[in-house]
């Protein structure tokens, strides 16, 4: 059965490092649902959050294949563990002025914030779990979504356990 698997990979910030990760997924036919890249507490190290839709066997091989990449420092599987998963989205709705109060009320339920207004549109931002973002989009859709972008999830384990970045010996090279 295919389910969404979430991985966090810390990767040395080297030319082509992201290319290697993406190339691996292309080549092995792993299906990327989402990929986000950002900086970390450690200079020279990026953090990739990956969501892959796959069965359990493939998921195991995703991790093993990622770990084979020399630039990848470590891979954490956050599937099914207590983790914070957050996404950010901007939604531009084309709503006539008379319908705005209604939409704004709905947005407040989601703690979505209005960040831009024009005569024909209303743009809100939302931060939350992917489910919450999905739900907001469902609600806005009947009013008409003119434009939408979401970052894809970022993930981090909960609690005191830390995914410490273990820098490789030759990293400074």
């Amino acid at each position: 059965m295919k389910v969404a698997h979430t991985y966090v990979a810390t990767v040395e910030d080297r030319p082509g490092a992201l290319n290697r990760v993406v190339s691996l997924f292309r080549r092995r036919g792993f299906n990327i649902a989402s990929l986000t890249v950002g900086t970390t507490e450690c200079p020279g190290v990026s953090r990739i959050t990956l969501v892959v839709n796959s069965d359990a066997d493939t998921a195991g091989r995703v991790k093993a294949n990622l770990e084979k990449l020399v630039d990848v420092l470590q891979v954490q599987d956050l599937t099914g563990v207590a983790a914070l998963t957050r996404e950010y989205a901007l939604v531009k709705a084309s709503v006539p002025p008379e319908k705005r109060p209604e939409l704004l009320r709905l947005c407040s339920v989601f703690r979505a914030r209005v960040v831009d207004v024009s005569p024909a549109t209303l743009t809100v931002e939302i931060t939350g779990t992917p489910d919450k973002v999905d739900a907001l989009l469902e609600v806005v859709r009947p009013y008409g979504i003119a434009e939408m972008v979401r970052t894809g999830p970022l993930a981090m384990g909960r609690g005191a356990e830390v995914n410490e970045i273990k820098v490789q010996a030759g990293m400074a090279a």
Partner: protein
């Protein structure tokens, strides 16, 4: 001390113990070539960069050390690609160094610029683009380390011309130590115990011995394990030689052209112990019917291979030698006579019927050549095969007793591999007798390297199994495409004259009685010798499990041909 980037290249190679490199110069790598004299490294000038990559690969496979190939940017680098992909598929440790246009013009489509690290990314273990002289030495050190550590493989280092030319203050001791790549965490004792328990209670266990046995030098441990547990050993193509063929527990090759009884035994086994092999589709046939009665133990150094093709019951992460050592202390001694009797029964019933033992029909079969070559060289030659029917006949008829006595392109199946790989092997094994076994087709793909043999004064023997066809493709056309021989009949030059044109010895054999004399003459000659064996043109390799079929569904040699010698 002051050094140029070019000097740093050679310093790094000397530091890694490299004695021979295979290469071809050109604009972007000229500074490096210019700095070569003065370093104790022999450069072998190839005739095509593909040859350089195969030579480095052949050197690596023959020695266990890292092979080195060098080329210029653009076309020089792209010519390496087939050889790099070949090494990648067979986990051969190799470092390829290419020149690149100056960093000042990178990305501008400058003359002879190719994004070669983009090209080699998916076919290398790792690759680098180096644009600064001071990064060359540490990068090469890391490249060598990565090439040989864990599951070995090719590493590519692309170095811009300005980095080669720049001078810098060189302190070899400085610099960070190389990154190690992923270290596999060896499996914990409980997994070893589980594997041992499976072995102890198996009635019909079978070892599937792969390249990993050869790579980890585990032959003696495997013999000990097989004898202690009474477990017969079947081998993959790349595993041949990892277990002595004359050992009573040796079964021979498995898979598409494996012996019939081996494939049957796999289907009847109740436990498969896979050692350093990866359940390639040429080995398993149809996955849904593969060894359904067997539990499976998979010993693998690369965790990404686990459960890739075949789901296993116990996975042991680590190299084959380590796993065997651990298991030997845990398993019980058992004779398993009933299983051996059953295998003997299957063997008696279904053995490949040896063409070579048939009464002479006056016709020369490839099997005759390979069998006689085995006999005449006492099974002690290092054989390097190309790809096609002759490769399978070699695997069936030349019995390998020692590891690293067969070098062949298994995973990629690269025609043109044999001659250059043998040249590379020659530098690794100066005293061993080396025979290339190639088809008339594949030989022509890299025949230009005969010239390298002549220039470098190298001695290898070349047996061309000349059947006038791209034989393996013709065989598939015969079996699966209603004998429409499209683009497989092959006109070849006179190979004897071709050898002579290179100042080498050429011989021709068209009758079985002539084999012995020609082999003796080739062995005696001090120069590379080409023997053109004119064999039966439309012979096929049997048995054959058609692609993606049950291992039991084998195409067998039609017997009328056997009995009468009439055309099939």
């Amino acid at each position: 001390m002051k050094r140029t980037g070019s000097q740093a290249i050679w310093e790094a190679l000397v530091g890694e113990g490299v004695e021979t490199v295979f290469g071809y110069p050109g604009g972007a790598i000229m500074p490096a070539y210019d700095a070569l004299p003065g370093y104790p490294i022999r450069h072998v000038l190839v005739r095509h960069e593909q040859g350089a990559a195969h030579m480095a690969d052949g050197y690596a496979r023959a020695s266990g050390k890292v092979g080195v190939a060098i080329a210029t940017s653009g076309p020089g680098a792209t010519n390496l690609v087939t050889g790099i992909a070949t090494a990648m598929m067979d986990s051969s440790p190799m470092v390829c160094i290419t020149g690149q246009v100056s960093s000042l013009v990178l990305g501008t489509d400058a003359f002879q610029e190719t994004d070669i690290t983009g090209v080699t990314l998916p076919i290398t273990k790792h690759n680098y683009l180096v644009t600064r002289a001071e990064d060359i030495y540490p990068t090469l050190r890391e490249a060598f380390h990565l090439a040989r550590s864990g599951r070995p493989g090719p590493v590519h280092v692309d170095i811009t011309k300005d980095a080669q030319q720049a001078a810098f203050e060189f302190h070899p001791g400085d610099g960070p130590p190389p990154r190690s790549g992923r270290k596999v965490r060896p499996s914990p004792p409980v997994d070893l115990d589980r594997a041992a328990a499976l072995i102890d209670c198996a009635e019909r266990p079978l070892v599937l011995s792969g390249h990993g046995i050869v790579r980890s030098g585990a032959t003696e441990l495997l013999v000990e394990f097989a004898e202690k547990t009474g477990t017969p050993v079947a081998s993959t193509l790349l595993g041949l030689g990892g277990f002595p063929a004359s050992h009573p527990l040796s079964m021979g090759m498995m898979g598409m052209h494996g012996e019939a009884w081996v494939n049957k035994a796999i289907q009847e086994a109740d436990l498969l112990i896979a050692l350093g092999m990866r359940f390639d589709d040429r080995v398993t046939g149809k996955l849904s019917t593969y060894a359904v009665n067997a539990r499976k133990i998979h010993v693998e150094i690369d965790p990404s291979e686990i459960n890739k093709n075949v789901k296993v019951d116990v996975a042991l992460m680590g190299d084959a030698a380590w796993a065997l050592r651990e298991l030997l202390g845990r398993v019980r001694s058992r004779p398993r006579a009933a299983w051996h009797a059953r295998i003997a029964e299957m063997k008696g019933d279904t053995a490949v019927r040896d063409i070579q033992s048939l009464p002479p029909s006056g016709r020369l079969f490839a099997a005759h050549v390979l069998h006689d070559l085995w006999r005449l060289t006492a099974g002690r030659a290092l054989v390097v095969t190309d790809v096609g029917q002759h490769q399978m006949w070699e695997a069936q008829y030349y019995k390998h007793e020692r590891p690293r006595s067969l070098i062949t392109s298994g995973g990629l199946g690269t025609m043109g591999f044999a001659l250059p790989a043998a040249i590379g092997a020659r530098f690794a094994r100066p005293d061993d007798e080396i025979w290339v076994v190639a088809g008339d087709g594949g030989f022509q793909m890299t025949a230009c390297e005969l010239s390298t043999c002549a220039q470098e004064n190298l001695k290898v023997n070349v047996a061309i199994i000349n059947n006038g066809y791209l034989g393996m493709v013709r065989q598939w056309q015969e079996f699966f495409y209603s004998r429409r021989y499209v683009a497989t009949p092959l006109l070849s030059p006179d190979f004897v004259k071709l050898a002579e044109a290179h100042g080498l010895l050429g011989l021709r054999v068209s009758k079985r009685e002539e084999i012995e004399g020609a082999v003796a003459q080739a062995r005696k000659a001090t120069c590379t010798t080409v023997v053109d064996f004119r064999v039966e043109q439309e012979d096929s390799v049997y048995p054959m499990v058609p692609a993606n079929s049950d291992l039991r569904d084998m195409i067998r040699r039609p017997s009328p041909m056997l009995e009468t010698g009439a055309d099939p």
